[in-house]
Amino acid sequence: DAHAKEVKLGIVFGFTGPIESLTGPMSAGAEMAMKEVSDSGLLLDGATVTSARADSGCIDNGLAVSGAERLIAEGINGLIGADCSGVTGAVLQNVAIPNGMVMISPSATSPGLTTMEDNGLFFRTSPSDAREGEVMAEILQERGVESIALTYTNNDYGKGLADAIESSFKAIGGEVTIVAAHEDGKADYSAEVGALASAGGDLLVVAGYLDQGGAGIIKSALDAGAWDTFGLPGGMIGENLPKNIGPDLNGSYGQIAGSEGPGIETFTKMADEGGFDGTSPYTPESYDAAALFLLAMQAAGSMDPAEYKDKILEVANAPGTEIYPGELAKALELIKNGEDIDYVGASSVELIGPGESAGTYRMIEIRDGKNETIGFK
């Protein structure tokens, strides 16, 4: 019967800790998808969808694991998360696999997770950083950049991304004058900027987080007059950056996972109506993660992870009718009627191989204090 059914999705994000300012919109995104499905009343013959949150601290394994464990106990049917790659690995190994729970992370992008043993339970709606490295190298080449200085946030995300950028850029003949880590949340970045400036380079690529050390580095570099333009990978794209730094940032460019088309635009609009920022990093991916869960459940006709886990790739990829944000009701209907769908969603989901996003990237340039999309790759 319709009333008895309740689908519960867990969200494990770092609501406190170094990316706390990202997780608000991220969870709002995910919950928006849930609400959409819930309101449609079409999932599994009228199941309602609720969410349950737990804090991962982004970097606190113990906290993340016990939070996830609690969610399992609350009887969730799927787990959205975790956010940072480190805790994602921990939750996957210690909670998801033992409990046979499916996890879809919107934001854990470390290449290390690609090959991790996961019993087919782990997916992500964001691409591996290995891919972003290649894309960024191409963009730099096209713009005629010959040498870069590179700084990254000192965690698995930053390090993995920096490695990827460095090797890709070198492979196509570019020069990397220096690769220097920076720690997030530190009080002062003069030392890093000093070293980077001394090494020189046409451009400073900052593989960090936009409201963490990444922003600090850019500010320091601008203040000292070391660089005018910056290369900005995904973690640095968000409206906060131009807002906080101001007009000096105009002309800097970069890319973020995302695709062309109506998906992201619709989503941004929906998010605006929902009262949060849809362009905040990994927010579209979060929406998509939640949507994938629900669509796969519908396809499997079950909310048992063991049964729907194989359907995730199916609903995410072609063939089938393309589904955009706001069209979840339609998708559920289609699936119910036995038709194939190809979920595109807000971030152009295309899951490859081991269950991660193939990765199209939106090229961004900052103009007049805004992130302008100038093309796709």
């Binding site: 394994n61 106990a73 480190g86 690995g89 921990a90 696999i97 033992p98 290390g112």
Partner: protein
């Protein structure tokens, strides 16, 4: 109310809280609290040994815990194929050279009379040694890190049973403690504190940045376990059957069983350490330490070798933290250097010791359980609190939305509140020193 009764009652309350979690949330959560509680208690025991017994203000717990974690990787992980051949000897000889340099400096400091000449020689040795060291190390490291960097790119471990890592973790920590103790134990109170804090930061910096050793921030994932994997249990018909006969479904049974095994291991370690600490505390050795803590000058005049005792206790306490660190990494099955934050691994342990009652081993254990319980359970409490506060409000009021939104931030706030309340009602800790 007499002390024993009171203490039993306190432990009873913690037990009841955990059982409550078992019923209200799940037994998995409850068991997880127990196992992390056990590990926390062990750390608290180590700190209590240093602070409660000997008055050593060690704020570098995080570093020792991390060294324990390193041991788990170096002992438990399989060696990376070809890595040692590529750069192992280079690294080893660089490290030996580094040690020799320091030895040389110490010798010079001892043998030569103070003066500008000595300073000059020391600086020369240090600079020369440093560049030689880098010259040996850097190429070797580069070769090691080049081996499949996304998956390995480090030397790997010895592939031994991971249980061995626990004592080894203790040894690592003890070794580091010996070096620190030799140099910094002369410092008093807060100066020692910041010195140990700094050393812990240095250890973490090394773990984070020496990829050849620990994969750095890329984390080592999949450290082997001393207990079976849940999946294997679920696929083991014998286990499934047994589970069924107790009325459990295989998934739940396997997760619970694994935790029970861990708990048994941890509890064994805790009990042994607790027994040893209790014996030590209530003996002339413990008395001597308390005397030293009370008044070093007088203890020295009464023939007690204060420096040696301090070093001993510092090493022992740190070793215990190292063991706990190894245990924790084993249970996490991964080493994540980025997670080592002073707040979580140093100050939280201190809170455990103080709230439990410093100078009292049972206090430390109680504190370990209680504070860990709160650390993971105040979050739901925060939500609950916010729900309660907002229950009377208009559903669409922005204040209500804001409050609910802030609920996760309330975790630390609630934690602070509870901490203050506990210390308010028993300022010397829940189980004070007698």
């Amino acid at each position: 109310m007499n002390a024993t009764l009171r203490n039993t009652l306190l432990f009873g309350i913690i037990g009841a809280l955990i059982v409550y979690v078992g019923f209200a949330q799940s037994w998995n959560s409850a068991l997880l609290i127990i196992s992390m509680g056990l590990i926390s208690s062990i750390m608290a025991l180590g700190v209590n040994l240093q602070w409660g017994f000997a008055g050593l203000f060690n704020v570098g717990i995080m570093g020792f815990v991390a060294l324990g974690g390193l041991a788990a990787v170096l002992v438990g992980m399989p060696p990376t194929e070809g890595a040692f051949a590529a750069g192992g000897w280079g690294v080893v000889s660089a490290l030996v050279l580094g040690a020799l340099t320091i030895l040389a400096v110490i010798l010079v400091m001892r043998r030569m009379a103070a003066g500008w000449l000595r300073t000059l020689v020391v600086i020369a040795i240090l600079i020369g040694g440093f560049f030689l060291y880098r010259a040996l190390l850097d190429p070797a490291v580069e070769r090691i890190e080049a081996i499949n960097p996304a998956q390995t790119g480090y030397l790997g471990g010895l592939g031994l049973p991971v249980l061995l890592a626990w004592p080894v973790g203790g040894l690592f920590a003890a070794g580091a403690a010996w070096i620190i103790g030799k140099t910094a134990l002369g410092l008093r109170s807060d100066y020692l504190a910041i010195a140990t804090l700094g050393i812990a930061e240095i250890i973490i910096a090394i773990l984070k940045n020496e990829d050849w050793l620990t994969r750095g921030v890329k984390n080592v994932i999949g450290v082997p376990r001393p207990v079976p994997y849940e999946i294997d249990l679920q696929n083991d018909p014998g286990f499934v059957e047994r589970a069924a006969s107790f009325g459990f479904d295989p998934v739940e049974a396997s997760t619970l069983w694994v935790k029970v095994l861990y708990i048994a291991l941890f509890a064994a370690v805790l009990l042994i350490l607790l027994w040893m600490s209790q014996r030590a505390l209530h003996s002339p050795w413990g008395r001597m330490l308390r005397a030293i803590r009370d008044n070093e000058v007088a203890a020295e005049a009464m023939g007690k070798d204060v420096t040696a005792r301090h070093l001993q206790v510092f090493i022992l306490g740190s070793a215990i933290c190292g063991i706990a660190g190894a245990m924790m990494t084993t249970m996490d099955s991964q080493l994540t250097p980025g997670t080592y934050q002073p707040l979580r691994f140093t100050f939280l342990v201190w809170v455990m010791v103080i709230v439990g009652g410093s100078g009292n081993n049972f206090g430390a254990v109680l504190g370990g359980f209680l504070i860990w319980f709160l650390w993971v359970q105040v979050e739901p409490m925060g939500f609950w609190l916010m729900d309660l506060i907002t229950s009377g409000m208009d559903l669409n009021s922005p204040l209500r939305a804001h409050l609910l939104e802030s609920a996760s931030h309330m975790r630390l706030l609630t934690m602070g509140l509870v901490l203050l309340l506990v210390l308010r009602f028993s300022p010397r800790g829940l189980i004070p020193e007698r």
